[in-house]
Amino acid sequence: MQTQFNALLTIIVFLPALGAIGLFLVPPKRTAWAKWGAAVVTAVVFVLTLALYFGQAWDNTSINNLRWVDFSPWINIHLGGNFDFKVDYFLGADGLSLPMIILNGLLSFLAVIGSWHIEKRTKDYMALILLLETGVMGVFSALDLILFFLFWEVELIPMFLLIAVWGGLRREYAAWKFLLYTLFGSSIMLAGILLLYFDQGALHNGAYTANMVLLSSPDHQISGFFSLGGFQIGAQLLAFILIFTGFAVKIPMFPFHTWLPDAHTEAPTAVSVLLAGVLLKMGAYGLIRICLGFFPVGAHDIAWWLGGLAAINILYGAGVSMIQGDMKKMIAYSSVSHMGYVLLGVAAAAGVAADPNLLAFRQAALTGAALQMFTHGSITGLLFFCVGVVYEKAHTREIDIFGGITKRMPKLATMFSIACLASLGLPALSGFVAEYLVFTGSFPIWTTWTILGAFGIVLTAGYLLWMLKRAFYGPLNPKWAALPDASTLEMVPLISLVAVILLFGIFPGLLVSIIQPSVSQILTTMVAVIH
């Protein structure tokens, strides 16, 4: 590939990091400067991500047909013994990554606005939010596998500190748990990346590459078998499992999910928003882009199990949500459940062999999964912001302590109700489109898992509406007679996200038309490889 530079993605990725360094220079007493600085930087980045969208036509993008490419060779050394160490600085966006880049831009900006009340070490807090944004932007735009891994790890330290310093009572426990789970996953992922890198290089006479465009093309995919303790495992399947372990922790997939409720419950509101809104999506994005794109055979081998785990995720997450007394913990578990839809869509896409009649279904399922990443990010973000406002006013999140507070907080209750309805998949709100696509697409492929998973929708409606009824409707609990409503500043993130949910609920085509070509390419490769 030729060196080329559009620079826009590079700016989007690194501007927040520069902002973070800049914030460190702010005098200690001037907390307002830190807030405004972070707000300006994230706002500029958000506008730039929109410029990504409006600056070029987005019809027919895929990993072979990227937009806004920044490419420059970085490390290229022949280390003897037939080992090349080759890393390129390669950023680019396609229909799969663009929605996530924009979502990250939006949520980071709203997170800064939503953290305006933070008085404890404001400067550090804002700097860490900005560092986090850099890491996540990098993950979604990196197109060299090793560069991807570098960005993947950048998020770790800021997130750890954000939970450990600004979290709730059990913050340190939650932060360590988050760190250990993530490190465990990413070191296994690194082993998978090494395996892929060397196996691919060996198959192509030492033409080592970590270029994700090449790795996703059928003639660069790995094949053959590995012998582990006398039993044979397909190279693609082994690489899939190793790399997917890292993503499974992040998504989070049962049984790797237990860090999430703790991290979410203890993290401050805006951090929960980012965690659920974009960080979990890094796992889902990696699953689609890397696991499905590079190892179609491995994905095909494991698809039935993946479907089963998806159903467990959906039902288990929803079931546990039902019995939570803490609003925030309930929403945390609902994330586990909703990320199960993404897994189900992927499992369906990887499902059956080349039956031309089912290709449209698989495509729908995968499009739904990719769309769910975006919609769940916006809806959960909204839910967490709502809970944050409630907690800010009432200093508790126990559902049963409230009762009828709609009378005191009409504005907030409206937003909260819209969020719940969107989350349970009400038509005309964006959650519906994604879930509909996933379930319709996966039904003919994994019928049992889909039927089981569909019960998740019922459960979701159950726990969300039940929570609304107990906390917001019915007679007003006199204890909350003096509860103030959300302030104008607090309404900014809420209204913005409601607008996003409505926009893509009514015009899902805006996103689907971008996502679909990228998804098709992955499926086309799959059909070509699996016979």
């Binding site: 970085w74 003897g80 160490f85 950048v154």
Partner: protein, 493 residues
Amino acid sequence: MTVTGSDIWLLSPELSLALLALLVIGLDLVVKRRSVVAITALLGLAIPAGFTFALATNLPNPHQAFFNMLTVDEYSLFFKLLFLLIGAVMILVSYDYINKYVRSAGEFYALLLLSVTGMMLMASTTELISIYISLELTSIPLYIMAGLLRGDDRSAEAAVKYVLLGAMSSAILLYGFAFLYGLTGTTSLDGIATATLKSGFAGGNILLLLANVFVLAGFGFKISAVPFHNWAPDIYEGAPTPATAFYSVGSKAAGFAALFRVFVDANIALPNGTTIVMLISVIAILTMTLGNVVAIVQSNVKRMMAYSSIGQAGYILVGFAASVGSGTPGGIASAMFFLFVYVLTNLGAFAGIIALGHALGSENIRDFNGLRFRNGWLAVGTSICLLSLAGVPPMAGFFAKFVLFASAWQQGLTWLVVIGVLNSLVSMGYYGYLVYAMFVKEPHKEGHISSTRPLNLALAISSVGIIVVTILTSVLLDQANIGAQGLAAFLGH
């Protein structure tokens, strides 16, 4: 048998450095102001550095001097520049500490420079007796430095221990060298290589194997590989902190430089290849695991860093095993790159520890609590260094480890890589804990901790250097690769 101008030119970096050491110690007698002595030492380093650069940019041919006792190749030049960097940063790091705690400042700098001279020779000598002499030139100043805190029992104890154990390890090394001489009739590494290839050792030879083991053991002491590591924690704790920093980077890097040289140039591992690779792998595993696991439970930062540096030596041995096993330079090239990054990073971490110890008078892990509130930049700089040591991306330590493990993986040492990666995870436990203590925990006491200008400069060099090295990985790794390839044209003869 005459010495030619070319010989002198090739020796010029070491010669000028030795003269600088003498100048510094002489200056200390006549000049009262200590800063003058330190600045002379620091600026004086520009002269050997200039010679080394001149040699590096225009490598003379032939590049052997003094009847092939000295070889100036890309490999040795890489290490020489590294040692000069160590020397320069060490002077910055030690200035305030030495002024405060050590009565004889000039001696400290002179010893430091003499030791660096020895290290530079260790990377360059290609003959057994010269290797031994340069090893002693390196070590004897180190023994003295350990005891420089006069009136401190622990410092005296450290010095005595260091001398005794150091002498023992030298004896073991010499024993191995004697075997090599007895088997081959020559002390030149080239001659040994030719002899081992020609004289029917092909199927393995028990005496040669013993020689290998003794040489490995002798250098194993220098690089503090398990089971020759026992000296490190006590001596690291007792010695003045700057001396500890110097042991953890200088002595280790020089030990590795000579170890690689002997094993590759003399090719002594070849006849018993599989056994030796197995032996090195076992030592690597023990070293990584013991270092990292024991580091977790330490409460004194210097002891923790001692065990951490043992663990780091284990990683480097993984690269060494890869190269010895395959006869290809990839492993040693990545080990050299790793050493470079390790040196830079460890010096930075020690700069932070010294700054803290300088202000508080103690080096407990507890003292790191809430450092963020007491000196933000110090906390940030030290954290960057610690995270790089742990191998967290995007710090340079990650690429260093990545390349090292990747080349071992490529040579089929998968299990060694797996254990290495697990050890990296363990190391997050203690490096990460320090970062956690600095940024999350509440400080015991209020009040700003002030750091001094030389320490800040050293810390800035390290932490900015870590980011720069990440970006320039290609350039540095390329140099390391050229150096490793030039090592006896890598077993190609």
